[in-house]
Amino acid sequence: MWRYLALAALLAAGLGWYLTGAERIDAEALGPHDPDLANGERIFDIGGCASCHAVPGSEDRHLLGGGRRLATPFGTFAVPNISPDPVHGIGAWSEADFASAMLKGTAPDGRHYYPAFPYPSYARMRLDDVRDLFAFLRTLPPSDRPSPAHEIGFPFSVNRGLGLWKLLHLSPEPVLDMADASERVRRGQYLVEGPGHCGECHTPRDITGGLDLSRWLAGAPNPEGEGRIPNITPARLRWSEADIAYYLESGFTPDYDSAGGGMAAVIANTSRLPAEDRAAIAAYLKAVPPRE
């Protein structure tokens, strides 16, 4: 809370405008890279890009023409076209443009993206994975669907204000300190905290709309209705590692209930991962601190 007050004071002091400018990734900082398309596809699958950017109703998870609408307490966001179409998609983007969007939440024209695009999680991704993902996206079919406009009201329509939000909530640092954990757990940590963006649904938010990291993965109200998104820390999720991995593959719980809601689309993505990545996610979920 004090943090917000302190920042508000800074704003009042007139520093606000300076603080809320957008950060980018420099093209010069990128250096040479030989893209690995198979890894790019793996990152695409764990990243769940198709869940939001695939054309609604299309069977093709690789046709990223956008158009899905996401209702949030801050307004309704329309998911843009990120297919390689040079006019309506991101076909004319440079690698630095893409890395800036994914890791800094900044558009090529300097605008801040709204966090309905889960870049606060993607900001924890490794640069090489982002570059492989970009190369993979370039191989997908173009779509000439224009990106529709968002429907958001004041004060959230003041884009500059997002700069302040990013200062509070955007960080490439891992959520948990797991430096001493096994390699498998750390792989799971990377997948869950970074590209998998599991916390964006499973962690409750504070009044500013950022994730309350002290209750990491402890469950949250479901924006789709009166239900709850379950707590997946060991305080509540008592499944074995094999059970969790099987759920991420098949959608079946140990009682053979079948995953629904927003999780069904997540499983459509995780079912495509190599088994070792699902096992790594399961190992991490068993290792996170229990939270109620």
Binding site: G227, R228, P230, Y246, S250, G260, G261
Partner: protein, 154 residues
Amino acid sequence: MLRTTLAAGAIALATAGLALASGSDKPADPTDPISLRQHLMANLGKATGIGGRMLKGEIDYNPQAARAVLLTMSSVALGIGRMFPEGSTSPDSEARDTIWTDRAGFRAAVAKFIADTEAAAAQPMGSIDEFRAQFGAVTANCKACHEAYRIKKN
């Protein structure tokens, strides 16, 4: 001694409380559509589990058992459509309001579940691979319906 007994009692009560959290753990009430559909779905989960465990190799494959799994699914499909009358909601029910706001979509989901399970149950089931294909086709219905028309509450 008294203390351990009390503690054990408290644990037993707490566990009973947990068990009651799921509607299908109470005895079925034939006058209550919520109770009936939760029991029906719980049985559907158990039947699906028999199929899933055969496919995972945890129990031996048996073509008759495989057909019984698909026939159970088909029976549930035939009955479920009638179990969501207008207003049949409760804090314990995980039926999502979209069942009633998108009546046509929900009816179509039930109709597809009926058609897919009846077709699957009529297929040859001699080999586990034949069963795997049918099982995949019918369980896609679980996911699709739960995605649009069911919301977890715990």
